[in-house]
Symmetry: C3
Subunit: 140 residues, 3 copies
């Protein structure tokens, strides 16, 4: 992973073998980033997608192990107590241009992932919500 | 719906039962926002997707009533005469990680929708275009 | 193509018949833009999607000739030596709300394409990488 700050934005480049959520979390911690959002395109060699079941209050998931384009990756960074939460949803594409997607549990970068990260100077807080079983943004 | 301004951006959180286009329109009106664009991720319990037929000059649409991840939501805000137009396209994902998408007519939020809205200080105008039957951006 | 600058952002409107990559490249050259990223929604009448095979070091591609919503278009602009590289990934949707997507080779706009382009004041460099066969971002 390499990154560079341009104004209030960061360009982050992940390389082959990097795990996306792990690396973005590392970036946020290292650079003391309070919150922000990001977009990315690139490719992965495997991805674990998830779908939340609101009644059962748990994610179902699906692991796909093949070369996939990252056609869209959209996410944000917030903080629950002192834990950094990188929340992202992803669309991946096969060599037949068919798409799969959902909540991104984790993915391993293939050739590269080009991330544009917009940093906010204030914290966005999340709090565990009994009703949904999820960590939801708390805006006062 | 709750929201918070951070620099020239807004973080908007929609909750269960909120209708996306309706709430974003309400936000834009209440905060006197001239124009802008947004990205969002989250989940919906139903969505009405549309596809424009340029020859017939009308949308066909499809209503999906089941729990869906909002894998991508991308849109902008412009003004036609004094009417606010929230224009958005959406990708939704099923519990099999299959995706559907198109022009977003309306959708009802499930657990939450996390929206990042970038505000512009100038108006973007739209005008009805006879040729396509659509409201198109007019940049002088 | 028409465009208008608002703060450090540009709103770019493409019209029927415009080729997306060609027009965005023309915009970047004409306005002497160093780098940036963009999102867009709209519609196309044809699109050539691609998927990179990292082992064979080449793209496979698929041409779709029918009316499609541009459900998501996400990309960035960088420079390899003096060549401008507009890199974008796209999700398109049929009248059945089914989606296809991948790396965008080129597409022809149908009714319109609404692009939000965020300009950076510094250059992002790309360099050919033997290992992957791709032009990768080089951040010093």
């Amino acid at each position: 992973m390499k990154y560079k700050k341009i104004n209030d934005s960061w360009v982050i480049v992940l390389r082959k073998g990097d795990r996306i959520i792990e690396k973005l979390t590392e970036f946020v911690k290292t650079e003391n980033i309070k919150s922000g959002f990001f977009n990315a395109i690139g490719a992965v060699s495997s991805v674990e997608l998830a779908h939340y079941n609101l009644e059962k209050k748990r994610y179902s998931s699906k692991l796909i192990n093949k070369p996939l384009e990252v056609v869209s990756l959209m996410g944000n960074v917030a903080v629950k107590e002192k834990e950094i939460i990188v929340h992202a949803h992803i669309v991946v594409g096969t060599n037949k241009m068919e798409l799969y997607g959902g909540h991104l549990k984790e993915a391993t970068v293939a050739a590269t992932l080009e991330v544009i990260f917009i940093e906010f100077k204030e914290m966005i807080s999340k709090k565990y919500d009994e009703d949904t079983g999820l960590n939801l943004m708390e805006l006062e």
